[in-house]
């Protein structure tokens, strides 16, 4: 079971990042979540979602979503890579099991852009 995204349903509100960051740190920020909004190409309105797990990244690009193994080298700016291990910054998604809750990103997304599969 993992968190997946329907990228075109995403409106970029970042509630998923806030909820996930809260799950990890009991505080509100956009720097410590396992799910990340890729929104650095604002003028192009190119926006996607990245979910980091222990073994791969789920990259929800607007043109399509896929799971990419960590360490697969890609050059060029089409979505994100992330570290292979938790090094105090971004933990791999644990489906909020360590809090005993249902996955919070899925619960808070107002538009059903995230789901479990």
């Amino acid at each position: 079971m993992r968190v997946k995204a329907k990228p075109l349903e995403c409106t970029g509100c970042a509630l998923c990042e806030l909820a996930c960051g809260y799950h990890w740190d009991e505080a509100f920020s956009l720097i410590s979540s396992s799910i990340m909004l890729y929104r650095a190409e604002e003028k192009k309105d190119y926006m996607g979602l990245i979910v980091k797990t222990d073994e791969d990244l789920f990259i929800g690009r607007p043109e399509g979503a896929e799971a990419v193994k960590l360490g697969d080298l890609q050059k060029g700016g089409k979505g994100g890579g992330a570290s292979a291990k938790p090094i105090l910054i971004r933990e791999a998604c644990d489906l909020c099991e360590s809090s005993g809750l249902e996955p919070q990103c899925v619960a808070v997304c107002p538009h059903g852009a995230l789901y479990l599969e």
């Binding site: 970029g12 920020s29 538009h111």
Partner: protein
């Protein structure tokens, strides 16, 4: 990260330490304890208290609300407060999209900008570090080039840039500040105030965290409000409530994706593409494919003036680039629909901005602290209350009016947030 001096004070958990005082004339910054939040109230009431305190210096106050930056639905709102050149009275412009949240996260509770710089500068506020940077290279640039320039210089595409274009630099009464590329709800010509101060931009970025006093109770309350929010995507419910024609339908031929502000379940913005097909989803070589339509009032003027949708969006882009009040500009442009891109640009540059900003569906209200950025929904008292609560707590007033928010429950969240017991009457009282 915050100043140690003020960390024991109430409400500090939802705000970082101090108020930043920027003296543009001296080219210096200093920090003072953020006392106003306890004396006057959170958000805009604190900003108003600071405005009064520094009034003789024609200050611009940049700030955010108590909940800004948290997962309370609609908690995107920051503000810019200053004396409007149009009225001579204090007026507020909203900081929405991601600018309000970044204002909170930048590391200062409030920012007071006083005086004027001898040369163009911009403020770079990052994680509690206040830098006054030389903006000579940005002088004369439109808001798009300004935003790109600052993001390139600082090496980060997520920096939020509150900037002015040529109109603001010229001190035009039609000038408005812009949030990144997209214009803003500034109908008080605060962009002109920035221009008079030679303040080309305020750039914001912070990597901090906000703590609630009772995090679990606060978070649960926020999720409860989120679950109960009645949300429609797009402009449909807003237009319907206003009795205005359907903007979504008008935009649909060039609509690319719906966009939301930070932490907001509503989607009051639509990105349109006209320099490439709106169905193109991947990132292509087209660097500027279109425009974010976030100003429904301006869009309605052009739509009801008979403008072709693509031409209208190009006109809004041109106004955003120039740093113009898009509502007044659209009202003026609505009388003469154009289609040629060159003529549109020329018409935008020739705008006089003589008419008052208002929605197509309402007579202009007497200009006051809150401009017509928030649509006239539900009667004046409801509208006023939404603005007061919204700017205090950092919640978009349009969201409050449109999405059926339980205001009492929202105000109850002030307790787990920051130990603040308050109510509607108390909030109203904070505005005098």
């Amino acid at each position: 990260m915050p100043s140690i001096s003020s960390k024991e004070k109430p409400m500090d958990s939802m705000y970082y330490g101090d108020t930043l005082i920027v003296d543009l004339e001296a080219g210096r910054t200093g920090q003072v304890s953020f006392d106003e939040v306890d004396e006057a109230g959170p958000g805009l009431p604190a900003g108003l208290a600071l405005y009064e305190k520094y009034k003789e210096f024609d200050p611009l106050i940049f700030g955010s609300g108590l909940f800004t930056g948290t997962p309370v639905p609609g908690a995107c709102l920051g503000f810019v407060l200053g004396k409007s050149p149009l009225t001579g009275e204090p007026a507020v412009a909203p900081l929405n999209l991601f600018a309000g949240a970044e204002m909170k996260l930048s590391g200062f509770s409030m920012v007071v900008v006083k005086g004027a710089s001898a040369k163009p500068v911009y403020l770079w506020l990052h994680d509690g570090v206040p830098d006054i940077e030389d903006a000579s290279a940005l002088a004369g640039k439109d808001t798009w080039d300004t935003t790109d320039g600052i993001r390139r210089e600082m090496g980060e595409g997520l920096i939020q840039v509150i900037c002015i274009g040529p109109a603001g630099e010229a001190g035009s009464d039609s000038a408005a500040l812009s949030i990144n590329y997209w214009g803003s709800g500034d109908t008080a010509a605060l962009g002109a105030v920035m221009g008079r101060k030679n303040l080309k931009a305020v750039a914001l970025r912070g990597l901090g965290m906000l703590d609630a006093d009772e995090p679990e109770e606060f978070y649960d309350g926020a999720l409860e409000l989120l679950a109960s929010a009645k949300v429609d995507t797009g402009f449909k419910s807003m237009c319907s409530a206003l009795g205005a024609p359907d903007l979504d339908a008008w935009l649909s031929p060039i609509a690319h994706r719906r966009r939301a502000c930070f932490a907001c379940p509503a989607t009051c913005a639509t990105f349109v593409k006209y320099n490439e097909a709106p169905s193109v989803m991947e990132s292509t070589d087209v660097e500027e494919p279109g425009m974010l339509i976030a100003n429904a009032a301006a869009a309605l003027w052009l739509m009801q003036g008979g403008w072709d949708v693509e031409a209208a969006c190009r006109a809004m882009e041109a106004m955003a680039r120039e740093g113009l009040d898009m509502v007044r500009g659209a009202r003026e442009l609505s009388e003469t629909p154009l289609t040629d891109a060159g003529k549109i640009t020329a018409a935008v540059k020739a705008l006089e901005g003589s008419t008052a900003a208002r929605w197509t569906v309402a007579e202009p209200a007497a200009p006051g602290l809150f401009g017509p950025w928030v649509p006239p929904l539900g009667g004046y008292e409801s509208w006023l209350e939404a603005n007061r609560i919204g700017y205090s707590l950092g919640i978009c007033p349009t969201f409050l009016l449109l999405c059926g928010t339980d205001t009492s429950r929202l105000l109850e969240l002030c307790v787990p947030a920051a130990g603040l017991e308050t109510g509607q009457d108390e909030i109203a009282g904070m505005y005098g």
